[in-house]
């Protein structure tokens, strides 16, 4: 008779109430980690930003954990812009960036958190221009890159560069980065001279994806960090700073000597002067041990001579 027997109800009602309570409890804002407090308790440092730096930051975090088991560094990528946006909101302790923080971003951070962002140079990166391994091109000038990538640039076909590709593959496939990427901003500022990118490029979500797409696409050209080279699958082009000047091969040595034209600093930003565990961590990154990791990851350490493997 009763489609809803009392026994069911007796069980169901408490369960339903409990479920509602659990959901409500889940909505409560979580208290954030006890970042920045030194001492014997466990400390979590939130570190976010540049995809270029995410691998090296991960190794730093792991190696530092071996030395200081009470410090957890949580590393995530997303792009320099994502890291800087999170720093401005005050949700992380350290932002990794492969571009400078803009003045208005610094002002915004100060307005939001009351603290002036502090910048640390933790290494250098040479931005390599990649093409498919079967592409006969070996070098490219600064102007040619701008003609290929910038809005209003004339070059859209490989034949215009004097490169003979198999039939039907003449169209240059431009591989770029999503606009939150520091690599994207750096390339725009230093190679395109602040002009905009030509629309229609394939915008990848990571440094590694750029190299992978170039490796699988014969007619592609893309830019990514030196550390993401995959010899045998892609080829790094020599870059000449100006038409007529000799093209320079991208390498740690040429980036250090400032001969290679598209190299940039790798940066870490904190809110205000770092204290406690965050300070210890950044200090450690700048020691020989931390800088060797930079070099092993394919980037250029901050000091010459101190970080020989």
């Amino acid at each position: 008779m009763n489609p809803f027997p009392a026994t069911y109800r007796r069980i169901f009602l408490p369960v339903a109430i409990a479920a509602v309570l659990v959901v409500l409890a889940g909505c409560k804002p979580k208290s954030s980690g006890t970042a920045g407090t030194s001492g014997h308790s466990r400390t979590t440092i939130q570190n976010k930003g540049s995809d270029t730096m995410v691998n090296v930051a991960q190794v730093w975090a792991e190696d530092y954990k071996q030395l200081h088991p009470n410090v957890d560094v949580e590393v995530s990528g997303g792009g320099s812009g994502v890291g800087i946006a999170a720093l401005i909101k005050g949700t992380i302790d350290m932002a990794n960036a492969s571009r400078d923080m803009k003045p208005e971003e610094k002002a915004q951070a100060k307005r939001n958190t009351g603290k002036e962002p502090r910048e640390f140079v933790v290494g250098y990166d040479a931005l390599a221009v990649y093409v498919h391994k079967d592409n006969p091109l070996t070098e490219v000038t600064h102007e040619q890159l701008a003609d290929i990538f910038a809005e209003g640039g004339k070059v859209t076909k490989w034949s215009e560069m004097g490169v003979k590709m198999p039939a039907g593959q003449d169209e240059i496939v431009r591989v770029s980065r999503q606009s939150s990427s520091g690599t994207y901003e750096f390339f725009r500022e230093h190679v395109l001279n602040k002009r905009d990118f030509k629309l229609g490029s394939r915008d990848m979500n990571g440094s590694k994806e750029v190299v992978e797409l170039v490796a699988s696409t014969t007619s592609a050209i893309g830019y990514s960090g030196l550390g993401y080279n995959e010899p045998g699958k892609v080829k790094m082009l020599k870059v000449s700073p100006k038409t007529g000047q000799p093209a320079i091969e991208p390498s740690v040595a040429t980036a250090l000597s400032k001969q290679y034209p598209i190299a940039r600093p790798l940066l870490v930003y904190t809110l205000g002067e770092p204290t406690g565990e965050i300070k210890n961590y950044i200090d450690w990154i700048l020691t020989d041990a931390g800088q060797q990791i930079v070099e092993r990851s394919g980037y250029v350490p901050v000091r010459t001579g101190t970080a020989k493997p």
Binding site: A85, Q178, S179
Partner: protein, 302 residues
């Protein structure tokens, strides 16, 4: 104390009341959530509409998307509307015949055992997470497309369309199968008594009778296609470009929001325009649902 029918125990009756209130709340929560989401998204987008640097016609009809330009910021999403429409359209062209065909086979032609097996497999297809679909598109499909079509890049409309079709087929199949099953057996018996073939039965009797349900199935598939983000983000190449063929890379509205919202500083024009894109998506799905509703009502009235 008097609480309820004379011979019912008091506690039972109180429980009933609470339960009723809970169920009532659950029923209305959908409306509250939808309104809440719409208000929030619209509130975030609103300030940009009154901004003098922003024009709605440029937003809708220009394909210049330069949200982070240093010299000349332009917010035009036309290329992404074209991207969403092309990928979803292609997906439906593939998924609707397959989905309806599968549903007809399942409900009318196959035996009990085959049906059970097929249904489990099709439901499994629906359980694959969208990021896994995207990964398949990026690694497996893109290689096949380059190999067989000679396209320069394998991540394009075709890739995204096939992946989306695979994702929406399970929805289309299960809803249209239900719709076909809901056609009373008396219709079938009457048709067979008149001596029709099985094919005539499906074409002339069942499909017209189940029209509403089948339309709902297709439109839910469209909704899935318009709203899907992760898989198309990975499989379409993410290029701001109006496609001229199915082998061109595109960017969809959803993928653009997913890729750019994280970096856009809260409160900036870029951030607000992304929310406005959300409002646009909302409007598109609302429009699709409205059209569906009108058609279904029209059918009912006949």
């Amino acid at each position: 104390m008097q609480c309820g029918p004379p011979n019912a125990p008091c506690g039972r009756w109180g429980g009933e009341k609470i339960l009723e209130a809970l169920v009532y709340l659950c029923g209305f929560s959908a409306i509250i959530f939808v309104l809440g989401i719409f208000v929030f998204v619209f509130k975030e987008a609103l300030p940009v509409l009154t901004n003098e640097n922003f024009s709605l016609s440029q937003f809708l009809f220009s394909s210049d998307w330069y949200p982070t330009s240093e010299s000349n910021k332009r917010y035009g999403v036309f290329a992404m509307i074209a991207g969403t429409v092309s990928v979803t359209g292609l997906a439906m062209v593939i998924a609707v015949p397959f989905g309806l065909g599968a549903a007809i086979y399942l409900s009318e032609f196959c035996g009990q055992k085959t049906r059970e097996t097929l249904k489990i497999v099709i439901e499994f297809l629906a359980a694959v997470p969208s990021v896994v679909w995207g990964f398949i598109g990026l690694t497996v499909m893109s290689k096949l497309i380059v190999q067989y079509t000679g396209a320069p890049v394998g991540v394009n409309v075709l890739n995204g369309g096939i992946i989306l079709a695979l994702m929406s087929v399970p929805i289309i199949v299960s809803i249209s199968e239900d719709a076909l099953k809901a056609v009373p057996d008396s219709y079938r018996e009457a048709a067979i008594a008149l001596g029709v073939t099985r094919w005539q039965l499906v074409w002339r009797v069942l499909l017209p009778a189940a029209k509403q349900g089948l339309l709902a199935a297709v439109l839910l598939g469209v909704g899935r296609g318009v709203g899907e983000t992760m898989a198309v983000l990975m499989a379409t190449g993410h290029a701001v470009h109006i496609p001229h063929s199915v082998l061109d890379s595109v960017r969809t509205l959803t993928a653009n929001i997913a890729a750019e919202l994280g970096e856009a500083p809260a409160g900036s024009d870029h951030y607000r325009v992304l929310f406005l894109t959300g409002v646009l998506l909302f409007t598109i799905t609302f429009g699709v649902n409205l059209i569906a509703d009108t058609i279904v009502r029209g059918i009912r009235r006949k």
